[in-house]
């Protein structure tokens, strides 16, 4: 077991990465093989992520399972340092879960199957990488690696949406998403360079999060510097987290993407942004963070309300879910911006919970689209009549998203409110209003699409397939489990959040 302890974090990056490489060599004419292989890889990843989560000793706290490999020595000093703490452990687990779900659900990918799974596994590796590394270079490396496959995943296997008055093509959406995320990452990159240069002027140039964190903690990084660098990270990572007004890539991208990719993207990838703000922005630039948090929490609140209000008038099932992601990521941003242990803890839990919830929603919407080939909520109706399990799961996901107690979303949102209430009262109240607005669009969606009299043309629809049922079922159980008994999650998150500076 001790060897696993040594290598678990390394393995969790390498397994999907090698999986991606090996997938390329699978026979081209048997697409099923790629699927089975990807399942195998993601099962291993899930087991590893479970191991990492479970073996995290929340009593001891701090960074664990640490391992470091030298990559480039002086003068640049880059190490592949790996470690997990209470913030990353749940997110690693999240990625393990959603990755397996996404792979399973991608059984329906029929064209260029092999390429699809290569890219999907690369995406998974990138996300794992961001969560486990302790070095800015590699954080950025994996961050970009996670973005890299998106263009092709959406462009090749995605779908376009016809709005009547105009067509939102998958090519457009893919290009926008990709350029947007890269645009965000260039700000991050500049920020990283600034930090590196700063550390060089202070003696040892380093990318190590730990060393930089120590520098920040020792107060040798001036407040002025922090204040101009922090917005780079806030906006740069914020783009990926769907920060208003840099969010438009997200609904379009999620809608255009194939189901498995939407799941991973909305479920996990968006969390990278929020994670980056915490891990890089807050830890390395605590004073800068403090100065900018009023803006971040304001934008977060705008996210919540704006996303919810936009979602209300969407006619495309997937767009509703897409805008709901924008809205829900607002809670994450708000929670982070509170700089309050409860608020930030809530944000981290919300990342986990929203990851599962939104992945579930995209899964179910994808299932509907696969069968009905349409996503217009004015055309779809009464699907409950034919797709019972599907509708039931969707209802649970929807209820989780509107913050129903007993489901994980409630705990997270509630903690965010609590944290915000103590720090930014008016915005907290607006956020509570936003939660009420969520009910409006979720119920509207449920009522229009799943409930009511069924149009005879949906007679032929079939209920969720066994794979969809299994994945959805697991997600539902997690949503309920975390909602009813959040302590296993919270005790890990609490430790992680408590060690952040400024809290």
């Amino acid at each position: 077991m001790s060897s696993l302890e040594q290598t678990a974090l390394f393995l969790i990056i390498m397994v999907p990465l090698l999986g991606a490489v090996l997938t390329m060599f699978l026979p081209k004419d048997r697409p099923g093989d790629a699927w089975y292989f990807a399942i195998g890889v993601s099962v291993v990843c899930l087991l590893l992520s479970l191991y990492i989560f479970v073996s995290y000793d929340y009593g001891a706290g701090g960074f664990q399972l640490a391992r470091s490999f030298q990559w480039l020595e002086a003068p640049i000093n880059i190490d592949l340092s790996l470690a997990v703490d209470g913030i990353s452990a749940p997110l690693i687990l999240l990625n393990g879960l959603v990755l397996l779900g996404a792979v399973l659900i991608s059984q329906t990918i029929r064209t260029r199957t092999r390429d699809f799974f290569v890219l999907l596994q690369a995406l998974g590796a990138g996300v794992f990488g961001v969560f486990v590394v302790r070095d800015l270079f590699f954080l950025f490396f994996f961050y970009e690696l996670a973005v890299l496959p998106m263009y092709l995943l959406i462009g090749v296997w995605g779908s376009s949406t016809d709005f009547g008055s105009f067509l939102r093509t998958k090519e457009y959406s893919a290009m926008k998403l990709f350029l947007y995320l890269i645009a965000g990452s260039i700000l991050v990159w500049i920020g990283i360079l600034a930090l590196y240069v700063k550390s060089a002027t202070l003696g040892t140039p380093t990318f190590s999060l730990e060393d930089l964190g120590n520098l920040a903690a020792s107060g040798s990084i001036s407040e002025e510097f922090q204040t101009w660098v922090f917005p780079l990270f806030m906006v740069g990572f914020g783009v990926l987290a769907g920060l208003w007004p840099f969010h438009t890539w997200s609904p379009d991208g999620h809608v255009a993407a194939p189901t498995g990719v939407s799941m991973l993207h909305a479920g996990v990838l968006m969390k990278l942004g929020a994670y980056g703000i915490i891990r890089v922005g807050m830890v390395l630039l605590p004073e800068g963070a403090e100065n900018w948090m009023p803006l971040l929490i304001t934008l977060g609140t705008v996210n919540v309300l704006y996303g919810a209000v936009s979602a209300m008038s969407q006619t495309d099932l997937k767009y509703v879910v897409g805008y709901s992601s924008v809205s829900h990521m607002g809670y994450v941003l708000m929670g982070i911006a509170t700089l309050d242990p409860i608020g930030v803890g809530g944000a981290v839990l919300q990342m986990f919970s929203h990851g599962i919830m939104t992945a579930l929603m995209f899964l179910l919407v994808g299932a509907v689209y696969d069968r009905a080939h349409i996503r217009d909520i004015y055309v779809l109706n009464g699907l409950f009549g034919r797709m019972r399990v599907n509708s039931f799961f969707f209802a649970i996901a929807g209820l989780a998203s509107l913050g129903l107690p007993g489901l994980s979303g409630f705990i997270a949102e509630f903690m965010v409110f609590t944290g915000a209430f103590r720090t930014y009262l008016p915005l907290a109240i607006l956020a509570v209003v936003g939660a009420a607005l969520t009910a409006v669009y979720i119920l509207r969606l449920l009522a229009r699409t799943f409930l009511g009299e069924m149009d005879p043309r949906w007679e032929h629809l079939t209920d969720a397939s066994p794979v969809e049922k299994a994945v959805g079922g697991v997600f539902v159980v997690i949503l309920i489990g975390v909602g009813v008994w959040p302590e296993p999650m919270m005790r890990v998150i609490n430790v992680g959040v408590a060690s952040l500076p400024g809290i």
Binding site: D252, S313, L404, F417, V440, R444, A498
Partner: protein, 639 residues
């Protein structure tokens, strides 16, 4: 007593079991829900006897400084938000709080839920989604019981939301009907608006007190640790939640529509239990409301009064049997609020119970009628006593009780309320309350007479008495609806009376104010007499009002146009705003903000490429110019 948590948990366990195992079980697993609630009812008695035997010295029990009554509190850690060692963190708990108020609610909920679930066996027989129905019922029972047992606001809020969603699911049970679907949505969203207030209130208390515990919040309010402004604000925010749930003006619009759900659901959720949660909340948080001379209570009183009057008037003209009952419910909830607003704590709870039994009974009776006649409009009914005597009798008992006919439970409880109002509030309040009492008696009488008495309507010959599964619960409820008033009396040495059990700080004796009693009796009897003239003997045309004051009739018959106004607000404001934001997102944020820079860059590229003209000499010229530029730059940096 420490096992009280089992009461809701049993139902919570039953719910998923029914969903998962139901299809393979006889009766789709409905018996699981009934077993769970029956067990809950049994445990309730055990808890009750335990509580009666407890004293402030028992473990976990004390005499609360905030309410003056014995309170037993059992806590269980749930989760930590923030690392426990941090100051700012908070530990959240599951906790059951047992005090007389909780016990009263427990008794009401377990009993009515049991009755309604048994009744549903008959009523819902053969429904393809019976399992789902019972699962949600069990879910609801668990949540409602949690709500009344909660010892902290967070748990209460959770249960509060859960009952809301169960209500949503049950109203929309027949979601194939557009009306049911819409009603369910409306119910959830309208109450959710109130819930925003509740949540904000809870958070406000938390930020003041640092804990979600009710007793700590009460303490802070009563000892003055919390300023007057905060206390009153918190109270009003809580009231907002209560108004949503208890369908108080102006949030009352959802309750009549909620009648689209199956009738037993209306009986349980929209008459006896969930809708009184608001009243319960105000009663539970009474220390907060009452602190600083109870400024907040005046608002409670006004809200209650307006609600009671307005909805009673609508009930007078409604022609849908269930809606009459629904408006009656709203009206009586208003009365309870009024009572609380007039410091009539005991009276409000007493009426809550009495009304709960009676109204559940009435709904079940109405369900029985509809079950056999398949009609809902009272104008299509009449003389049903001839074909369904049991239903008719029990319904009449409920109607008379609620109408305030002396000696029945409703009479006593309403009397207590009038008493409290007359003592503590402006005469306008008591005067209006009497009007409401009169109306209340009148519309009950109207419903009773039109539906059950007089000539048997044509086409109703096929109507028949309901099966015993339905009549038996009704009869049991009828007993309570009639005789529940008895516990109001104190029999020295044996029983302290209701006021001796449930009180705020001071135990209350049974009081009977002669003029109020006489006046209300006269009003009730008068109303029944008048109604009989109108609807039974048809001496007076019910249309007389319509002829004398047509505008009033129109306004009332249109329910004061609340639905229309709200609909307008939703269509014109919310949807317009939403449409605008969506358009803004596309046209401004996306097309201008995102595509704009992208297109600009691309266009710059297209224009810029023209500089490579293809002609050699222009390349050379560029080089020369570049050389000059570079030389100038070099010169600038060198001197």
């Amino acid at each position: 007593m420490e096992w009280a948590w089992l009461i809701p948990v049993l139902s919570f366990i039953a719910a998923p079991l029914i969903v998962i195992l139901g299809p393979k079980l006889p009766g789709k697993g409905s018996f699981l829900a009934i077993l769970a609630i029956a067990a809950g009812f049994v445990i309730f008695w055990a808890v009750l006897s335990g509580f009666l035997g407890a004293s402030p010295d028992s473990s976990h029990c004390e005499t609360s400084a905030d309410t003056g009554s014995l309170v037993c509190d059992y806590q269980q850690e749930w989760f930590h938000a923030g690392l426990a060692s941090l100051d700012q963190s908070v530990t959240l708990t599951w906790g059951t709080l047992i005090d007389p108020l909780t016990l009263a609610m427990l008794g009401l909920v377990t009993f009515v839920a049991l009755m309604v679930q048994v009744y549903s066996l008959g009523y819902m027989k053969g429904d393809p989604r019976l399992g789902w129905y019972y699962a949600v019922h069990a879910m609801f029972a668990g949540s409602m019981l949690t709500l009344v047992l909660a010892d902290n606001f967070l748990l209460l809020y959770m249960a509060w939301e859960l009952v809301g969603i169960c209500s949503y699911l049950l109203i929309g049970f027949w979601h194939e009907r557009p009306a049911a679907k819409e009603a369910a949505k409306k119910a959830f969203i309208v109450t959710r608006i109130g819930d925003v207030g509740l949540l904000v209130g809870i958070l406000l208390l938390w930020s003041e007190v640092g804990s979600f515990s009710m007793s700590e919040a009460f303490n802070a309010a009563t000892t003055g640790a919390m300023s007057e402004g905060v206390t009153t604000t918190a109270a009003l925010l809580l009231l907002l939640g209560a108004m949503g749930k208890s369908a108080q003006f102006p949030f009352h619009v959802w309750l009549p529509d909620a009648m689209e759900g199956p009738t037993p659901v209306s009986a349980l959720i929209h008459a006896a239990t969930m809708v009184v949660a608001g009243v319960y909340l105000v009663a539970r948080a009474f220390p907060i409301f009452q602190a600083y001379d109870g400024d907040a209570l005046l608002v409670v009183a006004v809200v209650g009064l307006v609600t009671a009057l307005m909805s009673a008037s609508i009930a007078l003209v409604s022609v849908d049997l269930k809606r009459i009952l629904a408006y009656s419910t709203i009206s009586h909830l208003g009365l309870m609020m009024l009572s609380l607003g007039a410091f009539g704590y005991t009276a409000a709870i007493f009426h809550l119970l009495a009304h709960g039994f009676a109204k559940a009974l009435l709904f079940l009776g109405a369900g029985s009628v509809m079950h056999s006649t398949e009609a809902q409009d009272i104008r299509q009914m009449g003389g049903l006593i001839k074909v369904m005597p049991i239903t008719a009798i029990v319904f009449s008992v409920g109607a008379l009780s609620l109408g305030g006919i002396p000696l029945l439970a409703g009479f006593w409880s309403k009397d207590e309320i009038l008493n409290a109002v007359s003592q503590n509030r402006n005469p306008v309040f008591i005067a209006t309350a009497f009007v409401v009492a009169f109306m209340s008696a009148f519309y009950m009488a109207r419903a009773m007479f039109v539906v059950f008495f007089g000539q048997l309507r044509q086409g109703l010959d096929h109507a028949h008495e309901s099966p015993w599964l339905m009549t038996a619960p009704m009869m049991m409820l009828a007993v309570l609806a009639a005789g529940f008033g008895l516990i109001n009396f104190n029999w020295p040495g044996a029983f302290p009376g209701f006021g001796g059990l449930i009180y705020f700080h001071e135990a209350e004796d049974f009081h009977f104010n002669l003029w109020i009693g006489v006046l209300s009796t006269v009003l009730a009897l008068g109303a029944f007499w008048l109604a009989s003239l109108c609807y039974l003997r048809e001496r007076i045309s019910p249309d007389i009002l319509r002829q004398k004051a047509p505008w009033l009739a129109v306004v009332v018959e249109n329910k004061y146009y609340f639905d229309e106004v709200y609909q307008w607000a939703v269509d014109r404001l919310v949807l317009t705003v939403s449409g605008f934001v969506a358009l803004f997102d596309r046209a401004v944020v996306n097309d201008v903000g995102v595509n704009g820079p992208a297109d600009t860059v691309r266009r710059v590229g297209f224009v810029l490429r023209l500089h490579v003209t293809g002609h050699l000499y222009s390349y050379a010229l560029a080089m020369v110019l570049g050389t000059v530029g570079l030389a100038v730059l070099w010169w600038l940096r060198s001197v």
